[in-house]
């Protein structure tokens, strides 16, 4: 019985971390790429597309090279996301519940 109770006991994955929090010590402040930076660009690395002040819109536009595409929709259908079928959506929206209500 006890074993069965243990089996069904829910152990939350959620961990409440408490507080107040103090700032962690010994954090390295060495420059790391911003999580949203494309290609891990770093300030001062010289990899940026343009220096400040110069209008990047006036620069030569970036054109796709051979075999490169800017959008998935430009690829053949084999590489595109598969849209869900109408029936699947309708089943989710109405489903069996429509029969009951």
């Amino acid at each position: 019985m006890r074993a069965a109770t243990r089996l069904f006991k829910h152990t939350p994955l959620i961990k409440f971390v408490g507080g107040p929090h103090t700032a962690p010590k010994n954090v390295s402040h060495a420059a790391k790429a911003h999580p949203m930076a494309p290609n891990g660009e770093l300030p001062g690395s010289g990899s940026s597309g343009s220096s400040a002040g110069a209008s990047y819109f006036n620069k030569n536009p970036v054109e796709p090279q051979n075999g490169e595409f800017f959008s998935r929709s430009q690829l053949s259908s084999r590489f595109r996301y598969k849209a869900p079928k109408e029936e699947e959506i309708d089943n989710v929206i109405t489903g069996g519940a429509a029969l009951v209500f």
């Binding site: 829910h10 939350p12 994955l13 959620i14 961990k15 409440f16 700032a23 962690p24 954090v27 402040h29 420059a31 790391k32 790429a33 911003h34 999580p35 949203m36 930076a37 494309p38 660009e41 770093l42 300030p43 001062g44 940026s48 597309g49 343009s50 220096s51 400040a52 002040g53 110069a54 990047y56 819109f57 620069k59 970036v62 959008s71 929709s73 595109r80 996301y81 598969k82 849209a83 869900p84 699947e88 959506i89 989710v92 929206i93 109405t94 489903g95 069996g96 519940a97 429509a98 209500f101």
Partner: protein, 493 residues
């Protein structure tokens, strides 16, 4: 009368002198450039952390794009047009008889929006006063990496301000469409569409993203014939494909016309009409459309005009974003950049998070922004909201996942509200049930998504949510049931 004008003029000089006194201090611990959601929050937080802080804003009112010409005014129009539409078309079967006609007073609708904006922007000024932030009304430009020049908007003498630290939060502006000239009257950006002088009979919108669809909803509810033209084959950039498809279906039912997989080749104003040439991306078939108003809503680009970033040695990437590192720093440790003008999604709440983090980095050397947990909301009806990963992203990353869905048609509160469109969809790790993404279409989805954000932040499993008691009867029960459906059977469906 003379005495009265003398009193008024003395009061004006006193106000001017007070402003001068405030401007007289030219050295600050933290100088924030830009008073939008990122900038004003950063300024308040820095002041709360004990720094002598100034915030420079050139618009003349705080709150940035979001409060002045973005999220807030559009929400006012969305809410009030939804009420109008519901009263006009969705009241009889609820037992509400309207005697006489229901109509819209367009100028009062706009005035209600302006009132909401005014109240909120002046509220930020009060918060600045409360927290001791100096508000410099002017245009900032870098002199070097430690000094900026502030050109006051009242035309008074320029001021040089020295900062120990800078937080740049200059935001973004609508991206222009090459070859289409915006006059903010007949061909409008997301700014001009919020202040049209009269209700157009026909409106075309380039861009089926969130801004385009929200404005499409506003004007369609008022009776405008709206056509949304989108280059991609689906609406709602960034949405889960299933959610995007379903919301398109619901919006089409409300009378919106969609031209997907269609590119715009020309858009010119001819008198009071805008002529638009479009082309089917696949077939190349051309078509000409006519509209009273054309809204160009193809996105936004970082705003760096007149800031003289090169004098501080700041770098922009090929999309015009300021390059920063993981601590929001530029190549100078004391200049940090937040919000739309740098990497990441252009969302007010993302900028706010970064504003707090930037101030905390300055104070403690540690800040926190979870870029994997930034919700997106589209305030159409029904609303669409999502956070975390979508199915396509999970497939691309090779993560095994389970799906749990629950439709609002099986939710008691939605049934009583006679508002049952949509569903809640959970994506959870197949093995641990950890929540990986939540996608909702439904009334109040924008509020409900906060629970999903909390679950993601704490690393909750769907079972944790399913075992949490949710009040009955509420829409949030659909959230609980969808979580349950990822690992067990839903109870009410």
């Amino acid at each position: 009368m003379l005495r009265n004008s003398f009193v008024k003029s003395s009061a004006a000089s006193r106000a001017s002198a007070l402003q001068f006194v405030r401007f007289a201090s030219t050295k600050y611990d933290v100088v924030v450039i830009g008073g939008g959601p990122g900038g004003y929050i950063a300024a308040i937080k820095a002041a709360q952390l004990g720094y002598n802080t100034a915030c420079v804003e050139k618009r003349g009112s705080l709150g940035g794009t979001c409060l002045n010409v973005g999220c807030i005014p559009s929400k006012s129009l969305l809410n009030n047009t939804h009420l109008y539409h519901q009263i006009k078309h969705d009241s009889k079967h609820r037992g509400i008889e309207i005697a006489g006609d229901v109509s819209v007073n367009f100028s009062t609708l706009m005035a209600a929006k302006d009132k909401a904006v005014k109240g909120l922007t002046s509220g930020i000024e009060m918060l600045f006063k409360k927290n001791g932030v100096t508000y410099l009304k002017g245009e900032a430009s870098f002199v070097d990496e430690h000094n900026i020049n502030v050109k006051p908007i009242d035309g008074s003498e320029n001021l040089e301000v020295e900062g120990t630290n800078f937080i740049v939060a200059t935001g973004s502006e609508p991206t222009p469409f090459p070859g289409i000239e915006i006059d903010e009257e007949r061909i409008v950006s997301s700014t001009g569409v919020l202040s049209l002088k009269e209700l157009p009979k026909r409106m075309s919108i380039i861009g089926g993203g969130i801004i385009g669809l929200e404005m499409a909803s506003v004007y369609a509810r008022l009776g405008t014939e709206v056509t949304v033209i989108e280059f991609q084959s689906a609406i709602g950039a960034g949405m889960d494909a299933e959610v995007a498809k379903q919301s398109q279906k619901l919006l089409a039912k409300q009378g919106l016309n969609f031209k997907l997989g269609t590119k715009v080749t020309k858009g010119v104003r001819e008198g009071d009409v805008v002529k638009i040439e479009v082309e089917d991306v696949k077939s190349g078939k051309k078509e000409e459309l006519e509209s009273d108003v054309l809204l160009v809503a193809i996105g936004r680009r970082p705003y760096t005009k007149n800031l003289d970033f090169e004098k501080a040695g700041l770098e922009l990437d090929n999309k015009g974003r300021v390059v920063i590192d993981s601590e929001l720093k530029t190549k100078h440790d004391h200049i940090r950049v937040i919000g739309d003008v740098t990497f990441g999604p252009m969302l007010a709440h993302k900028a706010e998070e970064e504003g707090v983090a930037a101030a905390e980095y300055i104070k403690h050397g540690h800040g926190h922004v979870n870029y994997a947990n930034i919700p997106s909301v589209m305030y159409t009806h029904p609303e669409v909201a999502w956070v975390g990963l979508n199915e396509q992203q999970l497939k691309e990353q090779g993560i095994k996942y389970k799906v749990g869905k629950f439709p609002f048609i099986a939710n008691s509160r939605a049934k009583t509200n006679l508002d049952t469109d949509g569903f809640v969809k959970f994506l959870a790790d197949a093995e641990t049930q950890r929540v990986l993404g939540v996608h909702i279409i439904g009334a109040n989805a924008g509020e409900m998504i906060a629970e999903a954000g909390l679950a993601l932040e704490y690393g909750a499993s769907t079972e944790d949510i399913a075992r949490t008691c949710h009040a009955h009867p509420t829409l949030s029960e659909a959230f609980k049931e969808a979580a349950l459906a990822t690992f067990d059977k839903p109870l009410n469906f």
